[in-house]
């Protein structure tokens, strides 16, 4: 994956979090991670990618960060289903917004949400993942981009 593509995801997550949390988001330096050991926090929202690229984009975050985000949004229902919904929606928005740069052939699935370890997902074994660390209000989260370019 080219650095330009990575920049697209950095821009979309920055825009999303700045708008929904009124700023204060810091991004760490992206790094490559081996797909045999995917990194995850408590909740992970995964978007499958097809069309011009193949793979997935996921947002993973600890429960405390998601709780804080929900409260910031004005949400009073802090049920487990809304925690799942939140990580799925963040992953959906980041991936969907990337189409502005990557085009309509960057096809995204509906979100799949996993709690805890990522044993249930299979990342492409021919590429490594870019992990984009996020820091907000002393919380850590990450966007993980694992894509093969098909075009």
């Amino acid at each position: 994956m080219q650095d330009k593509r990575l920049t697209v995801f950095v821009q979309t997550i920055t825009h999303y979090l700045n708008q929904t949390t009124n700023g204060g988001i810091n991004l760490g330096t992206p790094y490559l991670n081996d797909n045999s050991e995917p990194m995850a926090y408590d909740y992970t929202g995964i978007i499958g990618i097809s069309g011009s690229h193949k793979g997935c984009v996921y947002f993973t975050a600890p429960r405390a960060l998601i709780s804080h985000m929900l409260v910031k949004m004005g949400e009073t229902d802090l049920s487990d289903s809304n925690f799942n919904d939140m990580v799925g929606e963040v992953a959906n928005i980041i991936s969907g917004n990337a189409r502005q740069e990557l085009g309509p052939e960057f096809m995204i699935s509906v979100p799949v949400v996993i709690r805890g370890e990522l044993e249930e997902i299979h990342l492409p074994d021919t590429v490594r993942s870019y992990v984009i660390p996020l820091f907000w209000n002393n919380y850590r989260a990450a966007i993980v981009v694992s894509l093969e370019n098909k075009s």
Partner: protein, 120 residues
């Protein structure tokens, strides 16, 4: 007062839109979490306005818009989606939507788009 239906597979997004509309000229009469449910609900409720997500399970928004448009030529449909490319927006408008708001949106952006929708 306009009756309004929210179609989105995300509960927190449906609730966010509901919160934004509290005390405005839009009265939420129903919510649906996919296109099929939206069509069934539309036939019962006949809302004046619909906010429509595009990426949803079972039946997506792009395929739902023309079905609803066939049922009513007067309903106003605002697409509220994360799919931010121009081609998708144009396709949604060609299928029968009248407006497009990209997620993430602010309260004011959504409110302005809905007001424009009913003023046209």
């Amino acid at each position: 007062m306009y009756s309004m239906m929210i179609v989105d597979d995300s509960n927190i997004m449906r609730r966010k839109i509901e919160r934004i509309q509290q005390g405005t000229q839009f009265n939420i009469v129903g919510t649906a979490n996919n296109g099929k449910q939206a069509v069934q609900m539309f036939e019962q409720l006949h809302p004046d306005v619909i906010t429509m997500d595009l990426t949803m399970p079972e039946q997506d928004g792009i395929n739902t818009i023309p079905i609803i448009r066939q049922l009513s030529s007067s309903v106003r449909i605002l697409v509220v989606s994360a799919l931010s490319d121009k081609a998708t927006a144009i396709k949604a408008l060609q299928k029968g939507a009248q407006g497009f708001v990209c997620k993430p949106f602010t309260d004011i952006e959504l409110q302005d788009a809905l007001c424009e929708l009913v003023e046209d």
